[in-house]
Subunit: 796 residues, 2 copies
Amino acid sequence: MTDAPTVTGLPDRLGETELAALDAHWRAANYLSVGQIYLQANPLLQEPLRPEHIKPRLLGHWGTSPGLNLVYTHLNRLIATRGVETLCVWGPGHGGPAVLAGSWLEGSYTETYPDVTRDRAGMERLFRQFSFPGGVPSHVAPETPGSIHEGGELGYSLAHAFGAAFDHPHLLVACVIGDGEAETGPLAASWHSNKFLDPVHDGAVLPILHLNGYKIANPAVLARLPEPELDDLLRGYGYEPIQVTGDEPAAVHRALAMAFDTALDRIESIQRAARRDGARERPRWPMVVLRTPKGWTGPRTVDGLPVEGTWRSHQVPLAEVRDNPEHLQELEAWLRSYRPEELFDGSGQPVPQVLSCVPSGSRRLGAVPYANGGVLLRELPLPALEEFAVEVSRRGGSVHEPTRVLGDLLAAVMEATAPRRDFRVVGPDETASNRLDALYEVTGKAWQERTLATDEHLSREGRVMEVLSEHLCQGWLEGYVLTGRHGLFSCYEAFAHIVDSMVNQHIKWLRTSRRLPWRRPVASLNYLLTSHVWRQDHNGFSHQDPGFVDHVLNKSPEVVRVYLPPDANTLLSVADHVLRSRDYVNVIVAGKQPCFDWLTLDEARAHCARGAGAWAWASTEQPDREPDVVLACAGDVPTQEILAAAQLLREHAPELSVRVVNVVDMARLLPNGEHPHGMTDAEYDTLFTRDKPVIFAYHGYPWLIHRLAYRRHGHANLHVRGYKEEGTTTTPFDMVVRNDLDRYRLVMDVVDRVPGLGARAVVLRQAMADVRSRHRAWIRQHGIDLPEVADWTWSG
Amino acid sequence: MTDAPTVTGLPDRLGETELAALDAHWRAANYLSVGQIYLQANPLLQEPLRPEHIKPRLLGHWGTSPGLNLVYTHLNRLIATRGVETLCVWGPGHGGPAVLAGSWLEGSYTETYPDVTRDRAGMERLFRQFSFPGGVPSHVAPETPGSIHEGGELGYSLAHAFGAAFDHPHLLVACVIGDGEAETGPLAASWHSNKFLDPVHDGAVLPILHLNGYKIANPAVLARLPEPELDDLLRGYGYEPIQVTGDEPAAVHRALAMAFDTALDRIESIQRAARRDGARERPRWPMVVLRTPKGWTGPRTVDGLPVEGTWRSHQVPLAEVRDNPEHLQELEAWLRSYRPEELFDGSGQPVPQVLSCVPSGSRRLGAVPYANGGVLLRELPLPALEEFAVEVSRRGGSVHEPTRVLGDLLAAVMEATAPRRDFRVVGPDETASNRLDALYEVTGKAWQERTLATDEHLSREGRVMEVLSEHLCQGWLEGYVLTGRHGLFSCYEAFAHIVDSMVNQHIKWLRTSRRLPWRRPVASLNYLLTSHVWRQDHNGFSHQDPGFVDHVLNKSPEVVRVYLPPDANTLLSVADHVLRSRDYVNVIVAGKQPCFDWLTLDEARAHCARGAGAWAWASTEQPDREPDVVLACAGDVPTQEILAAAQLLREHAPELSVRVVNVVDMARLLPNGEHPHGMTDAEYDTLFTRDKPVIFAYHGYPWLIHRLAYRRHGHANLHVRGYKEEGTTTTPFDMVVRNDLDRYRLVMDVVDRVPGLGARAVVLRQAMADVRSRHRAWIRQHGIDLPEVADWTWSG
């Protein structure tokens, strides 16, 4: 790697003094990175290195560190000279040592963690805590000042960067993308985010593709492309790539400084053109391609094998340093190659030259408020729900599409946030399909490409974001909320699984950040899962999967909340609640198809506040004795079937005492020791009884209910119906029949479990079986539901 | 859209007769597509269209159909004129009507489904069954002849196409990519698959990017790029794009025929150069960009709004046809515009002109054997396990890295398949990290980019595939096994969630295809999840998630199998089993870190055959009475902790009768009525007792065990320990302590639940609590595990 840097034609902006200072900062950061991986004592090398100075377990990754340190150094210069507010998203895995080094040098680390002082003792603590039990992770993480991005799972850095930049017009979001990460699908899709970024209302994203050649044990695809091919690719993504290549520090410093200056000039000119001159063409934003050796400045060879510039420098280049005197010596030589005595004074404080590039105050990368979004967060202006509630004069006497009712509420929020622009709705091209199109009366769909006369609702500054990538929706929204704003992700239920792994990481981020006192609460990440499993009439099996709820409920209980509102007003109440909440991942499952209205707004509020409750109006129980059976339900379709079953029982077995229970907040079923929303055993027993049969009609996989309630009294009497993977293309009622969730089957379940019906049991059971047979014959012939089901209404 | 087609400079290869024939085939397919969406009777329009001819529910999507039909027609021509074996992957959603039309026309549909005859009655059946209960889905699906690809969830078409092409040197895989799908991350990453395709040993992939301008309700990103930018992008991906643009049928037919011929010429020349002349440079493969209007040839306007060429043609362009006489009339005019009387004779059979482009026999797209991979599948040559088994002279007397032992077996399979090339191992750059590097002694890592002197094991024809994209690994392997080969996907446990949604679709594919008698069984899709939750010493929280097993166990029990082998020999036995199996998704969770050897090969085989069993050698129970407590375990780390707990109990409470049970096959815990591997209640009771305390140490989320076993006797006595989201960067033993899965905690659990220990209980409990406290202090100070744990060995 001896090519000269390829930024040319611009005057050299670095004087010798500045160059030396930048190099000093970089060397200091490299020194601190190596120290974190290896040392537990003797941090300044004030005495010769001995085995006991070395950590007992060598964990960490050197390969990516020098490149990240270089970027940190030069972003410092850029911020200090330009004064631009900058957030950096550090994509590469195991980038911890570098970003921690930068933060410690600039002082933001000590401000965040006062016990890690900016002196010899603090340096030792910084070294020791790294990848140490109870310490800090190897990846950039919530613990890292200045970060909104967990570097452990790769693929999401660029989407996070764009999410952070939306509606932050004065912010520059730098984003370092490793060449390993660049192979992932989500990252590959993220490049096209520039088609959704408005140069007027949004900030700028500066991607820095760091090609150090290797991922873990293999060369990286993009690093080995012929340069013209990579150039085509990046231009095809819509960027203007600026190349910086080299392995000679001074030359690379010069080239990178020039590249960053060039990029900033270009960004300022784009923003000026759009903001002042009204330019409307999608700009070609600049980006930097930085090619430097993996493990640069580390050992060239170890045990006779090449290390610097190869995959061998990925992790810990010198192993077994405690036991191998030669390696110990090589480590000492490596550390001393940075000349620590020039970088730190005798007390361990960085000398002024090292710090001369560092910006001040909240402009420092580790202190920028955007990375601790809670400090910027404002309450969402939520209107009174009364404006949007549906009138319920008779239960089940009217139908509404719940998500359409919600759409009106979201539109009002969108409108109320028009001046402040801190609310967005994202979705994979399904916002209208999910009946949220009232939003288009107050905003448009973000779109910077050319438009045609037949297009509708596209807008350069729209705050609805539609792209056919659940990964982008998720990544954008994460970046948006983590930098202090609010939002909602509406998604087909089955395809929320596409982002299973991303939501894992976001939940982990929140779990960790909630335990860090300096991290202020951010808005919750809210999912609206609709177009759900029971109503995939034309999509069929591929679109039927209710398991996202199961996935989320495996994660940290302090973070996750799951709601299944059974009608329009309960959906409004739940939505109002989650939009006000902080630091959660909220999952709402609600249908978009016409659904009976069961509760008035006041009733809905009370019911949602309880999270689960008996519906006396649907029950036939007597006040002074326990019911014979509890019919429980969660979800809109199961609620309808349970109510229909209750009605059948009222008609055909009027002597039965039936209690109907509806569950909105799934975590209520968990023991109160396991989830903050969990009921006490006494509460549970009061609602479900200790020993009566409970027939539970649930929206998703039935065993989820058992997994939540297995510790409860009477669990042996709990009988759950739900989706059991009998998916297909068929009518709504046929779906519930195939999965044994239909009203007739539920009545049979009651008959089978409640004693005392005598001979009536046989007759009733047969009647129910007959209508199910009739259904099967009818559907085979007509392809539509039985009239008595299609036209059914509740008679209270 | 009036641009002229942009393929120029080549002689027009279509004579007027051929042009007319191609257009007739296309019109016939379009007619059949519209018929499927709308008609349930009068399929040939032999009488005027009346409301009762229309289906009661109009489901289906017209928008994508004409483009897919056009491709089908022209692939027919290409196959017939060139004789090339061709498989087509149809990416766009809701492509069912088109592909079904093509198959019905060529006769392969009737051969597959004899009741859908190629005549009037069969046409009516074809129409009626579409999106009808008990019929066929709207998406391309397992039911569709000639398909290996479910079109419902978007993103995977191109990865499937490459998977199908690997090691099929004579196959051409055409792949239609919708512009909606092209926005997804997995698809965006898939373009780079050409860096892994060997022109000598692999077939060719011909991507056909179909830009019809819109996804569901929005313009598509790629469709709106300025053409030079799209061209840059596709060249940057390494392709030579051939543009076909138009809305005038004859011109488009000419251009597309020419484009396909040009592409085939180029492919043949690339293959010749590589295979005959030894060319070693990565070729620039051709691809086609096809721009035609969405809903082309459909209604131009409906109710005064433009439809053809806009997003309004996405679904059913004319709604409420039964009730709206004007729409009924427009539908009839639309259908008659294809001139069905010229295309079908009075009995409903396609006229010879329509069929003249159709290839014959197994060359037809709906009859190609590659799409029914089971017919091509050969048994894997699996060597005797004795060659690889580890010797166990004393239980726990030695340690091995189980996945390294497996690596030797896999290498032998790789070697044995060298001449036939029908086995591949895929992974996201983790094959060596996962200790499977013995593979590199017999094959290399597939790589077509340039190589450097420091690279290792890269090979143009290697059958290990490493790319930092779980999506690509999964998509490639799916395409590979569905076309009749074998493979294994090794993955970090936590990041298998990245492909949750993909594995959903593959499981659904298998569930459906198992019920289709004409689909022959294919090799199972095998996961090796390693680098698991308990051993993420340097990665920490972001890499800790054992929930993929939970995800998979929600799906169809006839397809899914989950194995947790506790040592090297059991891993060998499980691997041997899954590599021989068919039509499953097998998940193996096994560690890569040194693990005690517990079972000899023969014992391992017997244990795996049972799936779960008591380990008498670790138990202290008496032959003639039930044990006081059952210590159960599943997974390598929990097994070690259970055995250590058993040893502590033997020492400190020798009077206790303890049974140790190990579970390898998780589905054994399910009732036998719910999973084919499930135990009967009698079997379960024999193993776990009906009423004794069971302390179960499980690898993953503890509630999974409850979800599997909640119907069993004695479920109230089942106490499960497992991972409860207490993840962090720490030592191996500290991880189990934090999650209460450690030996000391397990002993305390026994003490708390087994009566009769008297005063000893208090002492023993305190002793265990003391050592846990000592651990906490030790780890805070030293960062490594207590010596008594680090150096522990089993004393039998």
